[in-house]
């Protein structure tokens, strides 16, 4: 700290650097002395020599603007690290003042180190919370998926099917609509599993799921009932013959399924159909009737669709 006409500035709590119009250091206050190593030898040295990081074209232009045109500049510690001091994060203000007929450059250094540490801590904390929250949401989605969807085929599972079927049935009862239930079973699935193995069996189940989804409308629900059995809910049927369209689409789809590079299997499906209100008044009755119709098809050789 140097005795000077600017000594009063030693009583303020921000670092102050004052340079003359030739940019030679004429004063720094005691607060700045705590943040920067300066000595008596520093006096009258150019500020660019004492603070080399200021020696960039935009600072040089800024300082010129301050001295010549009374511009004022603000530089943030977030964008400019260690401009003046390595010990503290400083926001910098550049302006000029006149004293005794001379123009001086004043550099105000506001210490925001503690504030920045706190903000960065909060940012880290927030980042951790965000990551944790994201993971919890993913887990929740996975739990929902496992609870309502079949893991192998991605179709709705039996729980979800019954849940939705109740809602459709309620709507059908209220609004005098017809809804249909298809019970589907893969012919000789046990034989395929025994001959080609479980991996081939899984492949067949996945491909059948795709066939059923592609053959139905967006408003229908396709579900895996369990094993090689599938269910379809045909929503809002205009008449009992409507299932024909879906059954024909299933029948016409390519059922030659490639189970490895060398082998493919031609599969067939047995399908039984029941309708509300004709065949039953609750979901269990309707599925049971569709199952019985399917069983009848199966007994007569399979590969067919029949109504209860």
């Amino acid at each position: 700290m140097i005795s000077s006409k600017f000594n009063i500035l030693n009583y303020i709590n921000e670092g102050i650097i004052i340079a003359n119009k030739d940019l030679e250091l004429v004063f720094w206050n005691s607060r700045l002395g705590e943040m920067v190593d300066l000595s008596e030898d520093s006096l009258n040295k150019k500020i660019y020599e004492l603070f080399p990081k200021l020696n960039k074209s935009f600072f040089i232009d800024s300082i010129e603007g301050v001295l010549e045109r009374d511009f004022k500049y603000f530089y943030s510690s977030a964008m400019h690290r260690n401009l003046i001091s390595d010990k503290a994060d400083l926001n910098i203000k550049l302006s000029r003042f006149e004293h005794g007929g001379e123009i001086y450059l004043i550099i105000e250094c506001i210490d925001v180190t503690s504030q920045n540490i706190r903000i960065n801590q909060l940012k880290e904390y927030n980042k951790d919370l965000h990551t944790l929250n994201k993971r919890l949401m993913e887990q929740e989605q996975e739990i929902t998926r496992l609870a309502y969807y079949d893991n192998l085929t991605g179709l709705a599972n039996r729980t979800f099917f019954y849940h939705m079927a109740e809602k459709f049935l309620y709507d059908a009862k209220r609004n005098n609509k017809k809804i249909g239930f298809m019970f589907i079973d893969i012919d000789d699935f046990k034989g395929i599993n025994d001959t080609y193995g479980h991996l081939a069996g899984d492949k067949i189940l996945k491909e059948v799921s795709k066939i059923l989804e592609a053959s139905t409308r967006l408003s229908d629900i396709v579900a895996r009932h369990g094993g090689d059995e599938f269910l379809i809910l045909l929503s809002d049927c205009k008449n009992y013959k409507d299932y024909d369209v879906i059954a024909t689409r299933i029948a016409n789809s390519n059922k030659n399924i490639k189970i490895s590079d060398e082998a493919s299997i031609e599969i067939s499906l047995s399908i039984g159909v029941s309708f509300y209100p004709k065949d039953g008044k609750n979901i269990d009755q309707l599925i049971s009737k569709a199952d019985k119709a399917m069983y009848k098809v199966k007994k007569s050789g399979g590969n067919k669709c029949a109504r209860y």
């Binding site: 004022k72 500049y73 925001v112």
Partner: protein, 210 residues
Amino acid sequence: MDPTSLTYDILKEMFNISVGKAAKILSEITSKKIKLDVPRIEFLDSKDKREVNNSFSNIPDGTLMLSSISFSQKLSGEANLIFPANKMKSFINLCLDEDSRDTGDTDFTDMDFDVIREVGNIILNSIVGEMGNFLDINLDYSLPEVKVFAKEDFKSDLASKEYFYMLMLYITFIICDTEIEGAIIINLKTRNSFEELMRILKKMEDDLDD
């Protein structure tokens, strides 16, 4: 004295030179390609409420971030730089090389405000400084203040003022591939300031004609 198409051309030229200089400084500071452009300018007079409302409907909706500096002497008023707050958050993250997707964070910290104060200072300094330079007048002005506020509050605050004369500059800010549209509103405090500006511009037009 009403502005002519030449007045608009002179001002557009002047402001594009200013924001060009600001873009150069910002590119250097951030080490990123930054472009600033003023595609359109409008004069707004409190007498013409409909015109003012039309112009304000072009300002992005929602929460806005405002940097403002006051200037005085031969012209006195306020220059306000306005950008949508959510886009400014992305801009700050780009400047600081931070990825907000890591945190989902949309709140502004004091550090963010400091970044905007610095950016606003550079842009508004260029605008007001160049205006003083171009019009050959001395302007004394402050460091910017930064605020976040709702567009509607800004509009009603303005509506409560009895008289105002404003220059509305639409500004496009492009950093890397992110484009941010905002505005600079230069609010001249008195009718005298507006007339002084028009007188200087008229003189420039006459000089160009000679």
